[in-house]
């Protein structure tokens, strides 16, 4: 039945854990839509047949709806719509709540290509490798205009916004290659801004990742556009370099949790933080990025709004690298970052 409906509706492969949920709701909604529109159409035709005009100037009885009809006309569609809303919203909440153990991939759109970077180091243009049956979270940004990552086979889509991070996650269930399309109009080559997800078995993926880390240095030489390549092994290492170069560490401690001019970065990630205006937030990727781009919007309680604005000074990948660096700073384990030490 599922396969029949999927083919009738021209839906792509169902290659993620969301696909089946979304498609089942899709079948439900579209079937009711078709039945309802046909029912209205057929009723109109039946009425025409039964009540066609018999003579000129024919008078007709004055009929108005009963209260029962009015209640029915409102409550039946409302019941269906609310049911769909409840089901759709439940799935949407799932889609926008990545599990904590999800593997992270940074996705950056630029006119007109996709770049993917893993915290462990490797990165690639156009092709995203992910393991099957493991949750993968995409942290998405753009270097220029708005793009949108769309993987039809996974039924996921999320806009890539300049100066912000958005996130979406999936668990691929089938190995194979699936197309990525850009779905936010972005200029002349919009219709060619394609990429590919390669879903591998978890073992094959781990092997691939090791292979990539080994080959990083040679791969750098092969790529002409150096801005596309992480200069150092891992994103966190690169992030440290960027942080040093941008002077972040003059005000933020990275070896102790003690406050300096600004809050310490140690243990900052996922920390519950109180702001000057009394709100409480969780220091996630979105917050950390926002604090670089618009530092005075959400100032941590006890600090002055003195941090300069890094909007335009930090590229998307640089900001992502700093976020990764912050995430690597945990007081409960030794800081793994050693490369690129300058201070």
């Amino acid at each position: 039945m599922n396969e029949f409906m999927r083919r009738m509706l021209f839906l792509p492969d169902q290659a993620s854990t969301f696909a089946l949920d979304v498609d089942h709701l899709h079948y439900f909604v579209i079937s009711v839509t078709m039945v309802a529109s046909l029912a209205v159409g057929l009723t109109a035709i039946a009425f025409f047949w039964k009540y066609r005009r018999r003579r000129e100037n024919q008078a007709t009885p004055f009929i108005s709806p009963t209260a029962g009809f009015e209640v029915l006309a409102i409550s039946v569609p409302l019941a269906f719509f609310l049911l769909w809303f409840a089901m759709g919203f439940r799935d949407f909440v799932k889609l926008s709540s990545p599990p904590p153990d999800a593997m992270d991939v940074y996705v950056m759109g630029k006119q007109w290509m996709w770049k993917f970077a893993y915290p462990e180091g490797p990165n690639s243009l156009g092709v995203l490798h992910v393991p099957a049956n493991r949750p993968v979270r995409m942290l998405i940004t753009s270097r220029d205009v708005i793009h949108s990552v769309f993987i039809p086979a996974f039924r996921v889509k999320m806009d890539a916004l300049p100066g912000r991070y958005t996130e979406v996650w999936f668990t691929a269930t089938k190995t194979g290659r699936f197309q990525i399309l850009c779905t936010e109009y972005c200029g002349a080559q919009h219709s060619k801004m394609w990429g590919e997800v390669v879903v591998m078995t978890p073992e094959a993926f781990d092997d691939w990742l090791k292979e990539q880390q080994r080959g990083l240095v040679t791969r750098q030489d092969l790529l002409a556009d150096e801005t596309q390549v992480t200069p150092q092994g891992s994103l966190a290492q690169w992030g440290k370099q960027v942080a040093v170069a941008q002077g972040c560490l003059r005000c933020h401690n990275v070896d102790t949790t003690a406050p300096s001019t600004g809050p310490s970065w140690v243990d900052l990630y996922q920390q519950r933080t109180k702001l000057t205006d009394g709100r409480e937030i969780i220091a996630d990727e979105a917050y950390l990025t926002e604090s670089m781009m618009e530092p005075t919007v959400k100032v941590v309680a006890g600090y002055q709004p003195v941090m300069p604005n890094y909007q335009g000074k930090l590229s998307g990948p640089d900001a992502a690298a700093i976020v990764e660096f912050i995430k690597s700073l945990r007081s409960d384990r030794t800081v793994p970052v050693t490369a690129g030490e300058e201070q």
Binding site: E70, K157, Q179, Y185
Partner: protein, 553 residues
């Protein structure tokens, strides 16, 4: 009993064309261009929107031809991007927003209320000039500046594109004023110029629909004006309203834009719904089922429509809570629309239906509105939208509503009121043939696009993966059928203008107030203030000779 069921009521033998009417009251070009007569202004608008429909249609055909093959077919990528920008802007701002209120609203609103004209006749003419000037500026900007942003102007693409968009934004800004002027004029007219007997709940339902539309026009259009100015200023002078590199926010644009552009959908579709309420009563010779339900649901749609804009931003990174709130509110629009649909179908019950071209368009309208509307509800179902957002499914959905419903309303209105506006009848058989072609053509064009969206084809794609070819070919074939239908209509209506059978005062045997005046109406509409003793949609108590009912001519 043996009367043929496929023809309209025959006018009384020897119906004569009135000697003096609004069309021959002054024949110079000057008498048209400086007229204050709401009926002549309606005709000025009609000419303009038909030109816009033709232009928009040509652009649409270029788009469909380009999409016949997966690779480049007839034009380059940049030209293609300009084509869909032209198509969207011309169809929305020059055709769909003014088409029913400014043409049929202008023509019939005063007559239906028993007034000699709208409240501010000079404003009315001004609004036409503002519309023409804004449209000309927009078109000039599009053609010479080559804007390639799509009609949605999403920032930061629109603020950084190398094409020149400032004249286009200013053009849209100016057209907005025409929309506001018309809306304000109608609101004041409805409040102040109702003839004795026309109480609020004895107003024809078309008036209710135009009233709801006018409220949206007056309240929402200023936001569009503001937004277009901000984009133009950012593009031209480099302000940073929407540029994240300078502390701006590209999503702010989307909120402002959709705050207007979502209600704008109802600016386009509500008047069409009003037309259907009028036409369905006349073709079924039946009182409207649930008058108050239909009237109030128009206001309901106008109100709720203001709070649904966020459903365009489900994948823009807005919070899950916001997405849920906007989704739930969007469902209410569906409920109000469903109320109307049930009441229209109920109107046919125990009626006396004649299968004429207007009825064919009513049937087409019902199908497109229910299918298009329910796919809208499907799109508002948040998790489903994630897959469909910005794909051809969305394109097909809004074309079902806008092309399907709005054009059905326009064609129903044009055929139903043609005898009243021009005093002559159109050829019914040709009209039925064209209606059949058009309904078929719409389905053949857009049903494949729903499937393309399901398959994952994004919108605004110049080239597409090969697997989408078959459905694209089907869609282009359907569009050709559609275009053919329009050509037939253009030909027979042009001929009927001059050689059509004289219609007489009330060829449909309609009880609508506008059929009491001669066809075409005299410049003053009425010799003396009319008094209405019946409701506008009542067919249970019909005088012996309906054709004789009317005001002095």
């Amino acid at each position: 009993m043996t009367a043929p069921i496929t023809t309209a009521a025959v006018p009384p033998a020897g119906a004569v064309f009135p000697k003096k009417h609004y069309l021959n009251d002054g024949t110079t070009i000057r008498s048209w261009l400086l007229t204050h007569d709401h009926k002549r202004i309606a005709i000025l608008y009609l000419v303009a929107v038909i030109i816009a429909l033709f232009l928009g249609g040509v652009f649409a055909m270029v788009i469909r031809l380009e999409l016949l093959t997966p690779g480049p077919t007839i034009i380059e990528a940049l030209t293609y991007n300009r084509m869909f920008t032209l198509h969207g802007l011309v169809m929305i701002f020059m055709f769909m927003i003014p088409v029913i209120p400014a043409v049929f609203g202008n023509f019939f609103l005063p007559i239906m209320l028993g007034a000699k004209d709208v409240a501010f006749p000079k404003w009315n003419l001004t609004s036409w000039y503002v519309y023409i000037f804004g449209s000309a500026l927009m078109l000039w900007g599009l053609i010479t500046g080559g804007a390639d942003t799509g009609w949605t102007f999403y920032t930061p693409y629109s603020t950084t594109t190398t094409t020149n968009i400032a004249p286009v934004m200013l053009g849209v800004f100016i057209i907005g004023f025409s929309s506001i002027l018309t809306g304000l004029n109608f609101i004041v007219t409805i409040h102040t110029l109702r003839a004795p007997g026309v109480t609020w709940f004895k107003m024809p339902l078309f008036i209710w629909a135009v009233y709801a539309t006018s409220i949206i026009q007056v309240l929402a259009t200023p936001v569009l004006g503001l937004t277009t100015l901000l984009v133009a200023a950012e593009h031209t002078f480099g302000f940073g309203f929407f540029d994240p590199a300078r502390g701006g926010d590209p999503i702010l644009f989307q909120h402002l834009f959709w705050f207007y552009s979502h209600p704008a959908v109802y600016i386009m579709v509500l008047p069409s719904m009003g037309v259907i309420s009028e036409v369905i009563c006349a073709v079924a010779r039946k009182n409207i089922f649930g008058y108050k339900m239909i009237a109030m649901s128009s206001l309901g749609i106008a109100f709720v429509g203001f709070f649904a804009w966020g459903h365009h931003l489900f994948t823009s990174g807005q919070s899950a809570f916001d997405a849920g709130a906007f989704a739930a509110i969007s469902m209410l629009v569906g409920v109000f629309t469903a109320i109307k649909v049930f009441n229209w179908v109920g109107t046919l019950y125990k009626g006396a239906i004649a299968f004429t071209a207007p009825f064919a368009y009513v049937c087409g309208f019902l199908f497109f509105l229910v299918f298009g509307g329910m796919t809208g509800v499907a799109l508002a179902t948040v998790s489903l939208d994630v897959h469909w957002q910005d794909t051809y499914f969305v394109v097909a959905h809004f074309h079902f509503i806008m092309v399907g419903a709005v054009i059905m309303g326009f064609l129903a209105a044009l055929h139903y009121w043609f005898p009243k506006m021009f005093g002559r009848k159109y050829p019914e058989n040709w009209a039925l043939l064209a209606a059949g072609l058009i309904v078929l053509g719409f389905n053949a064009t857009f049903i494949p696009q729903f499937l393309l969206g399901n398959a994952g084809m994004p919108r605004r794609y110049y080239e597409y993966p090969e697997r989408f070819t078959a459905l694209n070919v089907a869609s282009t074939a359907g569009a050709s059928l559609l275009a053919f239908g329009f050509v037939i209509i253009a030909i027979y209506l042009a001929i009927a203008l001059r050689y059509g059978e004289v219609a007489g005062r009330n060829p449909w045997g309609s009880r609508g107030y506008e059929w009491d005046v001669p066809s075409p109406p005299p410049t003053e509409n009425f010799d003396k203030v009319p008094v209405f003793t019946r409701g506008p949609h009542e067919y249970h108590d019909i005088p012996e000779d309906l054709a004789k009912v009317g005001h002095a001519s």
